[in-house]
Symmetry: D2
Subunit: 341 residues, 4 copies
Amino acid sequence: MSHLIKNGRVITAEHDYIADVFVEKDKIMTIGQNLKVQADTTIDATGKYVIPGGVDVHTHMDMPFGGTVSSDDFETGTRAAAFGGTTCLIDFAIQTKGQKMREALDMWWKKGELATIDYSLHMIVTDLPEAHMEDMNEMVREGLTSFKLFMAYPGVLMVDDATIFRAMKQTGENGALVCMHAENGGVIDLFVQKAIAEGKKAPIYHALTRPTTAESEAVNRAIALAQMAGAPVYIVHLSSADALEKVSEARDKGIPVYAETCPQYLLLSIEDLERPNFEGAKYVFTPPLREKWHQDKLWEGLKKNTLQVVSTDHCPFCFKDQKEASHKFPTAVRVSRIASN
Amino acid sequence: MSHLIKNGRVITAEHDYIADVFVEKDKIMTIGQNLKVQADTTIDATGKYVIPGGVDVHTHMDMPFGGTVSSDDFETGTRAAAFGGTTCLIDFAIQTKGQKMREALDMWWKKGELATIDYSLHMIVTDLPEAHMEDMNEMVREGLTSFKLFMAYPGVLMVDDATIFRAMKQTGENGALVCMHAENGGVIDLFVQKAIAEGKKAPIYHALTRPTTAESEAVNRAIALAQMAGAPVYIVHLSSADALEKVSEARDKGIPVYAETCPQYLLLSIEDLERPNFEGAKYVFTPPLREKWHQDKLWEGLKKNTLQVVSTDHCPFCFKDQKEASHKFPTAVRVSRIASN
Amino acid sequence: MSHLIKNGRVITAEHDYIADVFVEKDKIMTIGQNLKVQADTTIDATGKYVIPGGVDVHTHMDMPFGGTVSSDDFETGTRAAAFGGTTCLIDFAIQTKGQKMREALDMWWKKGELATIDYSLHMIVTDLPEAHMEDMNEMVREGLTSFKLFMAYPGVLMVDDATIFRAMKQTGENGALVCMHAENGGVIDLFVQKAIAEGKKAPIYHALTRPTTAESEAVNRAIALAQMAGAPVYIVHLSSADALEKVSEARDKGIPVYAETCPQYLLLSIEDLERPNFEGAKYVFTPPLREKWHQDKLWEGLKKNTLQVVSTDHCPFCFKDQKEASHKFPTAVRVSRIASN
Amino acid sequence: MSHLIKNGRVITAEHDYIADVFVEKDKIMTIGQNLKVQADTTIDATGKYVIPGGVDVHTHMDMPFGGTVSSDDFETGTRAAAFGGTTCLIDFAIQTKGQKMREALDMWWKKGELATIDYSLHMIVTDLPEAHMEDMNEMVREGLTSFKLFMAYPGVLMVDDATIFRAMKQTGENGALVCMHAENGGVIDLFVQKAIAEGKKAPIYHALTRPTTAESEAVNRAIALAQMAGAPVYIVHLSSADALEKVSEARDKGIPVYAETCPQYLLLSIEDLERPNFEGAKYVFTPPLREKWHQDKLWEGLKKNTLQVVSTDHCPFCFKDQKEASHKFPTAVRVSRIASN
């Protein structure tokens, strides 16, 4: 089976020009002008862009959280992705405490079977007894090469520095990469408890209880742990200028640190959490939205390659039944936890 | 009772000149040239310095550790201090887990009665249930205004970030100061375990298992916690250029961070740990000695006021019965713990 | 002749306390409480401050400029200073091109005879042929130890980099200090010419034609020249955050750089130049006023000792006959030059 | 006329793979695997690299200097370039003081006719009266879009800051780029004169009389001038870590500064100037070789894109008749000038 896409405006990593693209057995074989080849199908792309499909490296389909589950499964989520030009996504298998990673992984591969585009998985590690270290190596051999750990959500997902260091040491040896949710969960939980105790439950308190210093501290710590372990590290959903500065400093020293940000941090800001009529709840996710001036710094970070990736952290909850429900009795702060990852 | 010290070279914070000093009821009343006053005793200080007595803000007399006890008690230790011109020292009361701070404090005040010079105490906090918060306030009212917490020695002295943050928040309100032993204990313990497992027990491994990155990470974290708590913080026995850089950056931003170093870090270096015939064990303390180039940076820090204090961290253990004993069976690494604080 | 000042609030570099001060033959002999000495006169300072007299290291009395002369001579200027508690000032002898330094100096010492308080002089060097180098050494031996050079005002006061370097090399050897007016005069003159050509003559254009980058560039250059010459350097009337950053960076590297700012830069800002009815002309001096945010940085610079001195750069011109005259025909830009130094 | 290059290892900006390249009328039409096209000639590149030709943006063929002329003309120099895979070079037309730029340019285009590969010219500006500004615009319209100015070689090539600023302002408007030889020539000449007066004429003095601070100062100044002129600037033959730091700082602030280094600064160091038997003279060029540690910083600069270009500054003089001649009577320092640009 072969295809010829003719006269499109072809965008590659180095070029932008009108050309033909010849695809054979799912593989681009030739790009050039006026290709003289036979193809099973020919598509006229005159006046259209011909670009590589997008890869979204951070999504959460069908994710159980706080008694509910994220509202896209792998079928609806990947279909939506395809409509936006995203042809591959990487979701997360989640190990629960006490569970074997393999068991969690099997379950998530199964969930993924509904996918309509390419997909893969990162492995979220919440429990890493010495006995399970070899499981990590095995997964790497199978092609799953990224493991996510949390510095936030004590009692749920958070692991201590020693565990992070051990995971990093292992990836330093087996060639995999640790992805880090970098926020100081211990301190944030105290802020949250205090806010709840004072009846401060509106969406805006989601941001006020998670200061940027809690993020930048954790980013600095993640980098120090990686440096001591002799491994690279990848910071997920970096949201603030303070945190970016830590990544920038480290990269300037030649330490192999990478980071992603998300469209929400590039385009929205803390004011959105104060929208009236509980509309602010639509803007609750973690890390929270920051003051507007952070946006400029993040754009600059992309320009200077301090940030290498834009992912979505797509993890939707319906306003009607999910966000509102959490509103009625517990607290917006709990809403925030439901919406977080 | 009055004294007249005549013709000494008087050194004060602003001057250096030949003058007389008149002391009445333990208080300097007048400094000037050719004082015409009557005194009970007159001392001729011609050709001698007349300087203020030194204050050593970091010592450990009579301190139990690792089954032994530091070899100076308050009597011998303060006598030695006086011979060196130190007329006041501040030691540490140590709360053990589960113990009330008050109880620990009473015991240490009692130990201190042997002192031959002025002395006071900092309070080491290892356990801070909400119910004990008021004890901190009470001590501050009595004049004990500094509380030390540890980021190292998991299972013994180390407390988690949430506890540190809570202590800082309290001092931010009651006007006291948190003193921080800043080293990432979780990671260090893994390095130590690995070294022991590999039979690497010589004194040098005390340094190799406690990298400067473990110190600078902890210093950065301590500062971030203090900043979020709205409180100042004081870093004890800062030993490395990396850690100093974190203090310097914070001070440049106007964050109220203070730090001390010690003569050992200014004058000795990692090579001393490799002296033959177990002599290296004499140079085991925590944080450990660093590469020689760190010394220049520390001196510079003093010159620029990034470091405000030089203390001794005096905490002696005898080579013969204490350091050697630890050598024979357990490990040099345990030596290091005995000698540490 | 002796004086006893009793019960004042004595402020010294290190203390702030109620005490007596005994002065004999113009020299403070004793400071203490309840001094029992005989004095020719006794002054009761109860409820009053007793502080050291101020020293203003940068003034321009009786200075010819742009066809007029600054409106204070050494008599009126020093009398005003005394009323504000300033008991010593350092003015500038100005060498004109072609003149011997000695000749200029003699004239200015003569002018200074009118002074009612202590005073001294810096030497402004505008011409430094090899044959005059020895004159610098002679002055240093006599006690005149600071030489000012200009990087601005081409054709009038500005000297080239080679001349500055030669002066610095000389001071590096004879122990004197080069004081630098640091602004890139070549570029500023082009901005000024353009503004005049476009009829932009209001006071605000004094600021708009002298950007902070022209100051910070010159400060960086002055420091580099000093570093290559092996001599210290002192930046006069530093006015902007950009320039301060260059001083700060150099001092962090241990390069012996010093700088002063003036009250006008700490308290006023560019908006003042836009006051209506030519009132803005009262705020014309050089370097010009900057955007308000620079003030915070300068205050911080004082706090951190990046800036060591506050001087006035006192160089008054009367609004009525001097500033207004310049307004009528030439240009506000010329006004600025009259008021500058 | 068409060519088919088959089975080579094709290296492009984004790919590295075995493929065929089809060229028609001097233009690459198609890159792909197993191309089925007819070509006039077919070349089997199996086991060979197929890479783009190199572009050397900084050379000096047939350049008169110090009474001699560089030993490659456009014929021999471009032939040598082609043998090394360089298929295009950009040389310099040199305006002498008083000469019209057009006249200089015509002469250099004529010299270039000997070239055996593609070539173009930058225009060296040594004299820029207002009347010649329009000549710059005309050249830009014709496609010559880069103008080089010198901050070194007073009396020969050096122009003052005002001239540089004016040139930059013009390029800011006409879209061209100023290339800057950034060294403080005024200070360097004093160092050189002193060395000669002291009989220090060995090759090593070429380095000792041109300190890195003279380069970093000039780089900082060039950037400041460009910033005030609202134009980009390109630093040629950057040789030291100090200078690189200035470029890096500016780029971090988003100022459009670009810089090149050369293989000699990446691979050789100051020791080479001390080779015995006047061999050191082979390593005399400007800026001079630096201490070895600068190499690491320059490599890092390339890695981080602080440096964007590696050029050669190819400007050869024969050891036998040119370097040696200068040795015999004048001074190595004059050698250095001959070999410089």
